[in-house]
């Protein structure tokens, strides 16, 4: 379990966090089970779609097109939402977005809010800002509730509590809801959540949500969900505040015909998730009387400026790449030190940090390509990962930093060694001597190295290295030629 919110600016590097996660057998079991189930469900409902590849291509092109004209579509959304009675706010970064939301909640006269699961509000740690201002946020999505009550952190973008099994959830509910008799059947646990939250739905006057899609053409907002907690938060409060990244916009209503096919099948393996809500501004006698949208940049415009990695912004947050990723499936989400874990997190998180933090994440991948294959909008994650690795190296070798960079220094030394035959031979001899204390022999008598010191440790954590041969090819060749002569 992680302590405190997942914050890429303070999180340990991925190899260190992953090593801790790998030691938690229960966590690995839970993650493996959950990702296996979703993957099987997804495969079934994707296979029944003969036009899946055409949908993916359309999805990719729609998102790509949107980014190319993002300014126009945001302005259209703003104009149409405003005309329909909504109020649009703009926020440059997380702090500005949080401040706007806190002020709006205070203006609504409430000191508590009901919340729909939203990765965007997780990204900006909105709950902390609300609590600091004396406002109590109630998470209403079952998984988010489990996490909030358990003082835990989300580990998946669609199923944030997938790292917990039913016994662990029961224990959290028993303790925090004061239900000592609570059973451990999933139905018992869901019923407990229903009763716990119903009173809040009926009482709390202000709701906070994220958004799956903003529709420029109409000024409407679309949220897809399963439980109905979203519909409660969207319809019962008097004030609704929606926080959305500027990347969430779609040009037209018709574009939903693609997204509403791609997203549910990819995310939860359903033909359609139980509820999709669509609303535009405020509507007399239906839902909140006041509606605000906060359009947040938070480094998205910087990502847009990088031609090679801007495809990151096309993401519709389905989580399919997480379920398919052999690394995520082993470590779970917390090791990524960010609310965005797995392959999408490995490319999105460092970019949201403008490459200043989370620099180990682009390396948290074997580049196997499973993520690309399942991505409903065809984001070439391996390509972006390689691009970001380059960025990291460039950054670390530039200027003063480069002089102190161990990896860069090692590369320079390697270059010097490979350039000279004498130095190369000496290095091989030295290597055989230096490795002696690290070599462990297996049953066949073969020597293996599974731990390397210092900065090489990260590399050997996931790989075993065979001992260096006692005789090199060069040695053998020289001796052989001597014999022949």
């Amino acid at each position: 379990m992680s302590e405190g919110p997942l914050d890429p600016t303070t999180a340990p590097t991925f190899p260190i966090a992953a090593r801790a996660a790998m030691g938690d057998a229960q966590l690995r079991n839970n993650v493996r089970h959950a990702t296996n189930v979703i993957q099987a469900k997804r495969a079934r409902v994707v296979d029944e779609m003969p036009d899946w590849q055409a949908l993916r291509e359309a999805g990719k092109q729609i998102r790509q097109h949107t980014m190319r004209h993002l300014d126009i579509y945001l302005e259209q959304f703003e104009a149409n939402c405003t005309r329909a009675g909504g109020v649009v706010h703009w926020a440059r970064n997380a702090a500005e977005a949080s401040r706007i939301v806190v002020d709006l909640v205070k203006q609504s006269g409430s000191d508590e809010v009901i919340k729909i699961k939203s990765m965007t509000t997780e990204e900006i740690q909105l709950n902390h800002a609300l609590e600091a201002a004396g406002i109590h946020p109630y998470e209403t999505d079952l998984a988010e509730l489990i996490i909030q009550l358990g003082n835990d952190q989300p580990s998946h973008i669609v199923v944030p509590a997938l790292h917990k099994n039913r016994q662990q959830i029961r224990e959290i509910f028993q303790r925090t809801m004061h239900l000592p008799q609570l059973g451990d059947q999933p139905q018992d646990l869901a019923d407990a959540a229903r009763i716990f939250l119903r009173e809040k739905f009926l009482r709390v006057k202000t709701g906070v949500s994220g958004a799956n899609f903003l529709i420029a053409e109409t000024g409407g907002v679309c949220i897809v969900e399963s439980e109905g907690n979203g519909r409660m938060c969207l319809t019962l409060p008097e004030t609704l505040i929606t926080v959305a990244g500027i990347d969430k916009v779609l040009p037209r209503f018709q574009d939903l015909e693609v997204m509403l096919q791609l997203l549910p099948r990819s995310a939860t393996g359903e033909r359609m998730n139980p509820y999709n809500s669509l609303w535009t501004g405020v509507h007399a006698n239906d839902g909140p009387r006041a509606f605000h949208v906060v359009l947040m940049d938070n480094a998205r415009s910087e990502i847009l400026a990088d031609e090679e990695s801007r495809q990151t912004l096309n993401c519709i947050r389905c989580g399919a790449c997480q379920n398919a990723c052999p690394v995520y499936r082993q470590t779970g989400g917390h090791a990524y030190g960010s609310v965005y874990a797995g392959p999408i997190g490995a490319i999105l998180t460092p970019q949201l940090q403008q490459m200043q933090h989370a620099q180990s994440l682009p390396y948290a991948s074997s580049l196997c390509g499973a993520c690309y294959e399942v991505c409903p909008v065809k984001i070439n994650i391996p390509e972006v990962l390689i691009h970001l690795r380059n960025q990291v190296v460039l950054q670390n070798t530039a200027g003063i930093a480069g002089l102190f960079d161990v990896e860069a220094a090692a590369m320079k030394a390697m270059a010097a060694i490979f350039r000279s035959e004498r130095r190369f031979k000496a290095a091989q001899r030295l290597g055989r001597i230096a490795e002696t204390p690290l070599v462990r022999r297996d049953q066949q008598g073969l020597g293996w190295i599974s731990w390397l010191p210092g900065i090489l440790g990260g590399w050997s954590q996931a790989r075993d290295l065979q001992q260096m041969p006692q005789q090199t090819f060069r040695d053998w060749w020289e001796k052989r030629s001597n014999h022949d002569n």
Partner: protein, 219 residues
Amino acid sequence: MTTSSPLSARAEILQKIRIANAHAPDTAIAQSAWSDLPRDYKRTSTLAHNAVLDLLADRLHDYDAQVLRSALADLPRNIAAMLSARSIQRLVVPAGLPPEWLPPGFIFTPDDSLSSAELDRVDGVLTASTLAIAETGTVVLQNVPGQGRRALSLVPDYHLCLVQSADVVQTVPEAMARLQPTATLPTTFVSGPSATADIEMTRIKGVHGPRFLDVILIV
């Protein structure tokens, strides 16, 4: 900028986007580029209408919804049968639902701005629908007479939804095309009863929305 005052967040974000995209906004270009986007996926029906109705019933069954076909004339009798089977007595009904559809023997309360707490005390809700999508087992509700505001089909624990067979389409694109003229109305897609898979990926029915959904297809 003519003034030296710092840019507003709005101006700054839009400016950064324009610099990133290296072009000035051009609505005409955006419009024609949008029209040229490839849409090679299935956008029309491939099945006869009867088969579409069967598919809808099938998909709804998958979600554990009960489905009944009824002629218009038999509607009150079939509604009564559905409600009795579920032991539902008190229902809220939106304005504009034809009163002649309602069977005797049940309490139908018209939605006269009932509070959420009052909605919480009825057994269920009876609504019509705008359309249904067969491939995904979805019924779509909008804020129009006979369907009412969104809270109606949300707070009560049981939802009986009436679908006209002419309103059933096969695919999602056909549905979006039909919804386009009323795209700004509050709209809810309902695909089965409320559910969650948050606990060990087991689909559990009924978390916060209605735990029970039944559909009558008016043929």
